[in-house]
Symmetry: C2
Subunit: 412 residues, 2 copies
């Protein structure tokens, strides 16, 4: 029971936009245990789209397209579906009524090109679109389902869960039950992680297991397929326990947990507050922490001490430390963490100072050198890192290391 996605639009092939619709559709289909085996992007070219639709029809049970439903010449989805499957285009009166009503409501004249949107391949279910003018469609043919959705993300993100998903659930009631779990880790490199769980992977042929590295974390994704949801969940729980035994505190959360969310919960639970002093990360750490709703419960704020002057003036880092050891040094990181803690009257303070590059490095202090300090009321912990690669990656990694350092501190 495999599904395939066809994203239609020159803007993707020209590189003007990145296709985020496919990702959303995949996640929604996963919730009803449907897996996507293929994603294709094609341009606004009838011949190409017809070929792609026919190929999809050969190999997939469910075909979902996005895009190409608008009123312009570029919009060719309905006519391509008609051509691919040998159907006539016929007028759907409900589509025309809806179009006239929608455009009249917002006082826009109906252009002749709009009427194109009211002709659908014969035999389709017309799905009226309250979020735009273009109707979507569902076509059933020889056991397959073809669903054509708008490319506008907002419209698609309503119509898919509101119309398409319920239709698929009714049509295919006996899907094997799939459950997934994501195990999220921080602090281990990808290959070391892989080696640590190699034996685990080999002894779990019944699960589909993947390791995925993102800048935020390294995820282990577990997929279990069974006859009932309960069975699938039991397989996952068992596997998760084993991984917890193998990886311990390298695991910071599961599924939609984020490092900053997990940290936030712990801070809130322990009644602790946090302030940050950022140099090379320039505000990135604060931005990550405050992306979590409710972070005002534990996050006081901080100081972006991008220059030595601000480190001295606002964080009260002693000038002598700056002179003797330089802005990027252990003593200065320490003073930043302790300074911001004092200034913001918080339980904990974090200080990050480093060389993001590309300029500013030297043999003694190369680009990528970062010190992270974490101060509480008793002591200040320091970590030193030599990070690699480019400015944004170095800044991103420094901020993530700081979060993980805080997490491990809160655990222990």
């Amino acid at each position: 029971m495999n599904a395939e996605i066809i994203s239609i639009g020159n803007e993707i092939l020209c590189g003007n936009i990145i296709d985020t619709n496919a990702n959303y559709i995949i996640k929604k289909l996963k919730e009803i245990n449907l897996t996507v085996q293929h994603i294709s992007a094609v341009g606004d070219e009838e011949e190409e789209l017809v070929a792609q639709l026919r190929q999809a029809f050969q190999r997939s049970r469910i075909i979902i397209t996005t895009g190409g439903l608008g009123p312009t010449e570029d919009d060719i989805t309905f006519q391509s579906i008609a051509k691919a499957f040998g159907l006539k285009l016929v007028k759907y009166p409900e589509a025309e009524e809806h179009l006239i009503k929608t455009l009249t409501n917002i006082s826009i004249a109906i252009a002749p090109s709009n009427l194109k949107q009211t002709f659908l391949p014969e035999g389709s279910h017309c799905i009226l679109n309250p979020y735009g003018t273009a109707p979507a469609l569902i076509l059933e043919k020889e056991g397959r389902v073809v669903a054509a959705l708008p490319g506008v993300p907002l419209e698609m993100k309503h119509l898919l869960p509101e119309q398409i998903i319920p239709f698929l659930q009714k049509k295919f009631p006996n899907l094997k039950q799939r459950e997934s779990k994501i195990i999220r880790t921080s602090g281990l490199g990808e290959s070391v992680l892989n080696d640590k769980i190699k034996t685990f992977i080999l002894s779990h042929q019944d699960l589909n297991i993947g390791i995925y590295a993102t800048p935020e974390d390294i995820q282990i994704q577990l997929n279990a397929l069974a006859d009932t949801t309960a069975e699938a969940k039991t397989m996952l729980d068992e596997a998760t326990k084993q991984l917890k035994g193998l990886l311990g505190d390298y695991i910071f959360g599961y599924d939609q947990d984020s490092l900053e969310g997990v940290i936030g919960d712990m801070l809130r639970e322990k009644g602790l507050t946090l302030a940050v002093a950022e140099s090379c990360t320039g505000g990135m750490l604060g931005e990550m922490i405050t992306a979590v709703p409710g972070s005002s419960d534990y996050f006081k704020g901080g100081i972006i001490s991008y220059s030595g002057e601000i480190k001295e003036k606002l964080l009260e880092v002693p000038a002598i430390l700056l002179r003797e050891f330089g802005e990027v040094s252990e003593p200065v990181a320490r003073a930043m963490a302790e300074g911001v803690r004092k200034k913001c009257n918080s339980s904990l303070g974090i200080g990050i100072t480093g060389i993001a590059g590309p300029a500013g490095g030297s043999p003694e202090k190369p680009v990528g050198l970062v010190y992270i300090a974490l101060a509480d009321d008793k002591q200040t912990l320091i970590q030193k890192y030599q990070l690699q690669r480019e400015r944004q990656i170095i800044r991103l990694r420094a901020a993530r290391r700081a979060l993980n350092m805080l997490r491990l501190y809160l655990i222990n």
Copy 2:
């Protein structure tokens, strides 16, 4: 002369990541006048990938794959290419040398699984990868070129322009000349922009023109195809002049310009310095400004005043203003901008205060309400916005509005 991209990896089909590599490759190929006709995403399944490679070979001259070059069992690109085209896998000694050297340099033990990365399909050009351990490859066969690149964006973004593009240029010297230009605008909504340049678009049938909205800006992309580069460039220059006449200061830059980069250049040029006081954006504005290399020339730093306490303590916002008008108000935004300017001793100060949501809104002050203040030595300007949608979108838009407000101030 068409190209096609195959993105390999379960993480895409599982919805864990969005494929941004394809978009980058498209843009780079465009620069050498190659267009992409197909993008496909396949999982880490040898059978699927072999089928996709064979199909690509039928319809495309240039095939670029990303992903699947790592050391784990999931990584099947080389073996799939070998199988698809009937080639043996042979050891490449230079790949092995490079692997050993790279891992030794960062003191990581060589795992047996790493050695998999040293076997390539016979007859490939082995492209050593200074940014990682996995080599890339170029395979020439029956007039086609297959290039297999790492999926890690950083590695791919080096190897493509440094190795693959020059190879393609040498191999295919007689392509029609295509030139593109991106006009970047800020401050106008997409439909208003579209209306403003509708006539321009209609009178330029010779150019391929698209309007693309991202959270950062709204771009107008112009593509000109001509027999010589000079002709294509002339067409673009002429069109750009016309657009400048129509849009004026809504245009902030071209091609790879960024709002923060353009602002940075102006600040540096005028010898001005900047500090920021951020509440709801939590450090995001500082992070954007400091993403630009060399921003230490003009950016002093700032204060993340996430709580009222910090606004009062560190920014010296008078308690009476906080009490009478609330944290999210014009007087407080003003005091934040003026306070951070004074505290950081900078030419300019920006203050942002707002309700990012989802909680915290009220009928008088709904979620999305944001005040942005810009203070210099003579006066303080204020803008009030009612932004829509979600927390991260509201924060992002607030930060972009602040940057644009600063830009327009610097222009006038």
